[in-house]
């Protein structure tokens, strides 16, 4: 069925058959339809990579910028027009490697956006090198003897930075993924949704089956507002937890802290320069 977020002509996707990105794309569109979101108000800020191409296939506003920089662009967008719903989207290399510094600081700013990271534990677009989340021992075309670096743990990093919403999902379970995405969009403040998905072409280790076998959902009794409990979850290695791992809605968002909105709530594009005021400032200097 054609949704609001589909183009009249279905664009040709650049993904391999069987890739987890298809499921993620489908779920994102469905989630926005179910949330009744006006595509006019929605902006995708994407980086570069197979994951980041998702924005190319959604009919709405988008800024498909540089590899690694989607969070910075998203911050500029949201801070200039807080009425927009802003999604920063990319892969594990995009967000945790090239853009790692922005990842840390977007969380600290608590910019009110959803950060979707398609985590396939590999660099897909550049044909299969290790990514920051590659498991130890993964052999690639570049890490010939297997990765010996400690994998980056985005969930633990985000919680330790007191991120306001931290979740992990799996593209193989579209229903759960959709639920988590919807909660992330409705959440006020920065929301990380790290989505495991298999790269069928370059990751022969972390396959669909591997993700199925090595993950589990946090249960009803789990209190995701307890930071230390959440950290413990984040460090589990036997099986990796899925679900909303941590939630902290107490902090003010970035836009709420900005003085530019203290006396004037209008988005910046609706504002005009007051030259008289600038002239007065010069004269009073």
């Amino acid at each position: 069925m054609k949704t609001n977020f589909d183009f009249d002509q279905i664009p040709e996707t650049a993904w391999c058959p069987g890739c987890g990105n298809f499921a993620i794309l489908k779920v994102i569109k469905e989630a926005f339809v179910e949330l009744n979101i006006d595509p006019m108000k929605l902006v995708f800020s994407a980086g570069i990579g197979q994951a980041a191409k998702t924005s190319q296939y959604i009919n709405s506003n988008c800024f498909n910028g540089l590899h690694g920089r989607a969070l910075s662009v998203a911050t500029g967008i949201k801070a200039s027009n807080p009425e927009l719903i802003v999604i920063a989207e990319g892969g594990d290399g995009d967000m945790y490697g090239e853009g790692g510094n922005h990842f840390i600081h977007a969380i600290r700013r608590n910019i009110d956006i959803v950060n979707i990271v398609h985590n396939n534990m590999v660099y897909g677009l550049t044909l299969g090198q290790a990514s920051p989340t590659s498991r130890k021992g993964s052999k690639t075309t570049l890490q010939l003897d297997g990765v010996f670096l400690e994998p980056f743990n985005p969930i633990a990093v985000a919680i330790s930075l007191n991120a306001s919403f931290v979740a992990r999902a799996f593209s193989g379970d579209m229903k759960q993924l959709k639920g988590i995405l919807k909660e992330a969009v409705n959440h006020k403040g920065y929301a990380l949704v790290d989505v495991f998905h298999p790269c069928v072409s370059f990751n022969k280790i972390n396959t669909f089956k591997w993700f199925k076998d090595n993950t589990y959902y946090v249960d009803e009794s789990y209190d995701n507002t307890d930071k230390m409990a959440a950290l413990e979850k984040a460090f589990e290695t036997d099986k990796l937890p899925l679900g909303i791992i941590y939630k902290n809605g107490k902090n003010k968002t970035f836009s709420e802290n900005l003085k530019a909105y203290k006396n004037n709530k209008r988005p910046l594009y609706k504002r005009e320069v007051n030259l008289k005021k600038v002239e007065k400032l010069l004269l009073s200097n």
Binding site: S80, L258, V273, V278
Partner: protein, 563 residues
């Protein structure tokens, strides 16, 4: 001493020399004197040796001079770095113990001031700088009530006691200064009292506001940081989103997000930070986002001399970013142009959807001048984005290369920016034909941009045989040198737009028999640009790259020998 006095304050970082500078230039200006001041720092927060030069004149001045008429010594080891600038006419004022014996052999006039004990009498060494302010005010016989007023304003927030101590301090200094009877004569001019004191930093920041800037993101780096600090101070009043980015890469991308959503955004940085922004600048070219970048140069490569001056990043700005795309580079040489050009940068960036770089340097940024009030009605800040309709496409191929830019939520269309090569709708394409069309479209903007270039300005004789070429911050010193030389054969041409070269460049340069270029760098980057674009060469190059600005004496001497 008559009509052109140079005072140098020399001391350690952390002694409050800047406070004295700001107070005294204001007091002098409001007494009817022309002033210019400039600071030369060592890169440290405490200790070392910093000097501030304050010039007081009966003429409008904007240059650094070597000569020192009055040297105020505020610490030990404050003289040796400027020893060669002293003459038999220099009056050295300072605490006896701060002045090394070798300067006391009679070649200089020394006035001992028991600064420490005077300060202690008032309440502690912390009052030393205010005593010096008083001393200078006394020397120039400035109205004492005016001085007290400034002190009250400056310190009222700190409580009655502190204000009173400072007033006592200023009076002590004042009496001392008057009693020196230095016989200073500088003609005053009532008109000057109406003028405004402005630094390079302030001119860029106020220019930005006049250009409608409502978003700034930057990572601190000397000497560029003052601009974001200034806007932070006025963030609420002017509705400016101000954010210290985690790095320059973030800053340059953040401001593109801001423009995308309809803000008017800038960043401010120095060479190293600008180098980190290169990929982002190239991105702006591809997505066709307006951006304004203030690049305040300091000596490089690498960390270089963090607090000194140089004009060696012209090539960096000129060639920044991978790929081929249009850009504009301005280089203000005085604070009027700092305001005018930064303001204009916003409009041109918006109109052409390109990077516009405002290229300054430490000397420009950290110097203060007084200027006449500016008529702001000549500024026409304008948003160029359009209200989109349902069929809006972002990268429409047009005759002048400008594709109307939409903003999300304004109108009925989707706004799709793409950093890949794209078709008119903003979708990835690898079609060779579309690729060529898009490259041509983007480059075509350069035609209109060139047409509205800001002409280079001739100062001095219209019948010149010798032409001195300068750009940016050398404006003041070359102008003053030409005025001093009063030679009918000599003129100075000032470039405030360095790229694209103004349309009158060729004509002005061709007319000269002898072309001399003055640049604060080692390889004459602007000279090379002119040569590559006009085919015209320079007979002489006056270049300086030791971290200091040119001095007036130096330029005059070099011009005499090179003419």
């Amino acid at each position: 001493m008559k009509n052109d006095i140079s005072i140098v304050l020399s001391g350690e970082a952390g002694q409050g020399i800047r406070t004295v500078e700001l107070l005294i230039i204001r007091a002098l200006k409001n007494s009817g004197y022309n002033i210019f001041s400039t600071t030369e720092l060592m890169s440290r927060v405490r200790g070392g040796n910093n000097t501030t030069e304050i010039r007081v004149s009966n003429k409008s001045i904007q240059s650094f001079v070597d000569k020192i008429d009055i040297l105020i010594v505020l610490s030990r080891n404050a003289i040796y770095r400027i020893e060669n600038r002293l003459s038999e006419n220099t009056i050295i004022i300072g605490e006896n113990t701060f002045i090394e014996d070798k300067y006391k052999d009679g070649q200089y006039k020394i006035k001992d001031i028991p600064l420490s004990s005077l300060a202690k009498e008032v309440g502690g060494l912390i009052y030393s700088n205010v005593i010096i302010f008083g001393l200078l005010s006394g020397i120039f016989n400035i109205n004492l009530n005016l001085i007290k007023e400034y002190i009250s304003e400056q310190f009222s927030a700190k409580g009655v006691n502190i204000t009173e101590n400072n007033i006592n301090a200023v009076i002590k200094g004042y009496d001392y200064g008057k009693n020196l009877k230095l016989a200073i004569q500088v003609e005053k001019n009532e008109e000057i009292k109406k003028q405004i004191i402005l630094s390079g930093t302030e001119s860029v920041a106020i220019g930005a506001l006049a250009g409608g800037c409502n978003f700034i993101s930057a990572y601190p780096m000397s000497p560029s940081t003052g601009v974001i600090q200034f806007l932070a101070k006025h963030s609420e009043e002017f509705g400016v989103v101000v954010e210290q980015a985690e790095d320059e890469i973030s800053a340059i991308n953040m401001i593109q997000g801001a423009w995308y959503a309809g803000a008017r955004a800038m960043t401010t940085t120095s060479g190293g930070g600008f180098a980190l922004m290169q990929e982002g600048i190239s991105n702006a070219a591809m997505v066709e986002s307006p951006i304004v970048i203030h690049l305040a140069q300091r000596p490089a490569p690498s960390t270089g001399l963090p607090t000194k001056t140089e004009q060696a990043d012209l090539n960096l700005a000129l060639y920044t970013g991978h790929g081929e795309f249009p850009r504009i580079i301005f280089a203000p040489g005085n604070v009027e142009d700092g305001i005018f050009l930064t303001q204009k940068a916003f409009n041109l960036a918006d109109k052409y959807q390109i990077p516009v770089i405002v290229l300054t340097d430490q000397f420009f940024i950290d110097s203060y001048q007084s200027i006449k009030p500016i008529d702001f009605s000549m500024f026409k800040p304008k948003n160029y984005f359009i209200k989109t309709d349902k069929d809006y496409i972002r990268y429409k191929i047009t005759e002048d290369g400008i594709s109307p830019r939409g903003v999300p939520m304004y109108g009925k269309g989707y706004v799709r920016f793409d950093s890949h090569e794209h078709d008119e709708g903003g979708f990835i394409t690898e079609d060779p034909e579309i690729r060529e069309k898009m490259v041509d479209k983007r480059l075509r903007k350069m035609e209109s941009i060139s047409k509205e270039s800001i002409d280079a300005e001739i100062i001095g004789s219209k019948n010149y045989k010798t032409l001195i070429v300068g750009w940016g911050s050398t404006y003041g010193v070359i102008k003053e040198a030409v005025e001093v030389l009063k030679d009918d054969d000599i003129a100075f041409v000032y470039f405030k737009q360095v790229y694209p070269l103004p349309n009158n460049t060729q004509k002005i340069l061709e007319k000269a028999k002898n072309r001399i270029i003055v640049e604060n760098n080692a390889t004459s980057q602007f000279g090379q640009l002119i040569k590559s674009q006009t085919g015209l060469e320079f007979n002489k190059h006056i270049l300086k790259y030791n971290g200091m600005p040119f001095s007036l004496e130096e330029i005059i001497e070099k011009l005499k020998e090179k003419k």
